[in-house]
Symmetry: C2
Subunit: 380 residues, 2 copies
């Protein structure tokens, strides 16, 4: 008899909120989960079937972790892919595939992949020294991005002048022409082992410029159906060229003249899909599980408009988290609170999110703005 | 600073699927949960913050368990209420209140409560011996119900003749006139500590007559708005008279001439509210947490039609569970699978449920029927 999802052990590299929400969905399938994570207090700690504290970048740690499970997936790209490749050779299933993780974890390689495959993206150049920055083929301001290990605004810098070059980091990086975009949007695509693909409707992302983090996410996108269709085609094209199994978030800029330029990929559940838990018939977490366990993909249609607010720790607060104004949120119809099980807050730390669902898109946005002003995460 | 839900420890008496789904919802609030349950392999085992194997009916076990938590609730009525009363005297919060559990756990006392408070219910008589049955004030057939500890069709018997009386159980029981009802329906009402009340829209229950278990649940009810309104009024009336804090499921018969007769109460999350997870803006689990933590109650409006199918173990199968036809289910748009983490199946054991959501009620029913015929839980 074929093995079923409820008989299998899923190994997850990374124990943060993305892993936590993946496990929450997996509970509905009796899925056994084993998490590897360096932080002993990470969000998955209490809900994984087994939680192992260890390095995600150490070959032996990852290899030994993987030997104990049936299928391995990730919730973060910064993992030891050599160990994953060895596990693949041993016959373990690793989704997304290590070669996909390798391609995506290096933003330079990612950009070259876009160019080679006629995927629209902003002009860029790989750089390795301050000298390269002085000889940039772009006018100021331009963007400097670390090729590896950037996250949540870390490893990205806007270079406005020669003085900024002095302060720039000297990691292997790329520089990119500053795009005068209208908005950033995202499309999540899923591809299962059989090659079935499915996309989620496009969402609009609104950034908190101070934290350089997504603050709001609005579903559906306000862009035309033509632009949404184009985004969907780009996402499916990338998933097919990569032959990825799993979900893939495709972040794109919409330029002022209506062009889509791919910014970045993430081969895993992504911040731009949180609203799908309540906003769509199938969530990104469910869809990722269906993809990697080769189950039929779910219907991604909207169940209504949804606005997701990232709950970031307040600026001047570090310590035991305190959720101020929770009652204000709970009085709003359609507000769904998701806290990530983090005991301590710090400035701009992602502590949770709230998704407001409403049939009326503008009302959902209004409620999200109310939450932004009436709910705060402070320290005690 | 006032204590918040994320700072508190919730003790749950009972570790079955109702507790499991309550914990799943509590995860979104960083809620710490401690479960007491006699079965070491029960559904809450892997997801409770702490899981203690022990008797729910033993005074010392329940009392010592309760001393360690901040708020105590139940997912089953068969618990030692003397211990809960002692904990209340010690200053612990126990919701629902022990006096409510006491009233409801004895179906005889429950019936007397209905009569005393002008709540419509089927005519009945308390009995204690076979002799009482021979002198029943009702014609055959009538219903014999054990006063305490019945569940899922256990402790209920239809008495068709004197021969059946011979086979009847001799527990303290009640007999009830057989109601020629059109259908059984349920309304779940919530009441928080502040006294705010809110009801879920009425649902229709369809029984599997062989297993004497709810097989389908259809939301919303097909009865007239007038009957639905009447059901809502009855549910609120009962919650207010009881002064209950928490949720209360009110099961009712709709007679052929459109009268509502209250059948039974359950002061906890209930099988008739499972569909609310996807079918309503707020689920019964969320609403129970909001009630007992005295948070504002959520909007219970429907997000569409929903049909819930209980997944019962197949008749002649006992052993390690096997989920046959899962792919058939996952191909249906709007089908949400909830397995309860039970390793072993046995005939008619509740192994999980599936909720189908669809804007078209008849399509949701059609899909549920398809699932009934194309998904089976067998043993390996």
């Amino acid at each position: 008899m074929a093995k079923q999802i409820s008989d299998l052990k899923l190994g997850i590299l990374g124990g943060g909120q993305l892993g936590r929400m993946l496990i929450q969905q997996g509970l509905n399938y009796n899925l056994t989960t084993h998490v590897l994570e360096p932080d002993a207090e990470a969000p998955c700690k209490d809900i994984a079937s087994k939680f192992t504290v260890g390095s995600l970048t150490d070959y032996d740690t990852v290899y030994n972790f993987g030997k104990d499970v049936d299928i391995i997936t990730i919730e973060i790209e910064k993992v030891n892919t050599e160990a994953l490749e060895a596990l693949e050779r041993d016959g373990k299933i690793v989704y997304p595939q290590p070669r996909v993780i390798n391609l995506i974890k290096d933003k330079g390689v990612q950009k070259q992949f876009f160019v080679e495959n006629d995927i629209p993206t902003a002009p860029f150049k790989l750089v390795s020294s301050k000298n390269d920055l002085l000889n940039a083929p772009f006018n100021f301001p331009f963007i400097l991005k670390q090729r590896k290990d950037g996250y949540d605004g870390h490893g990205v810098m806007k270079i406005n002048s020669e003085a900024d070059i002095e302060r720039a980091f000297e990691e292997p990086s790329l520089i990119e022409q500053l795009i005068d975009f209208e908005k950033e949007v995202a499309v999540i695509v899923a591809r299962n082992e059989d090659g079935e693909t499915s996309t989620f409707p496009m969402v609009d992302m609104e950034f908190n410029s101070e934290a350089n983090l997504v603050e709001f996410l609005v579903s559906p996108s306000e862009f035309s159906l033509e632009i949404q269709e184009k985004g969907k085609e780009i996402a499916i094209k990338i998933a097919k060229i990569l032959n990825i199994t799993g979900i893939l978030a495709v972040e794109m800029f919409v330029t002022k003249d209506g062009q889509l330029l791919v910014n970045e990929l993430a081969p895993r559940p992504h911040n731009s899909g949180h609203q799908s838990i309540e906003g769509n018939y199938t969530s990104q977490y469910e869809q990722h599980l269906r993809s990697i366990f080769n189950l039929p993909l779910g219907n991604t249609d909207l169940r209504g408009s949804a606005v997701m607010i990232n709950l970031l720790g307040e600026k001047e607060h570090t310590g035991l988290a305190n959720y101020e104004g929770l009652n204000n949120v709970l009085k709003l119809s359609g507000a769904n609170v998701h806290l990530y099980g983090k005991k301590y807050t710090k400035p701009f730390r992602k502590m949770g999110h709230i998704t407001v669902v409403d049939n009326d898109r503008s009302k959902a946005i209004e409620k999200a703005n109310y939450i932004k002003n009436n709910f705060k995460i402070t320290s005690k």
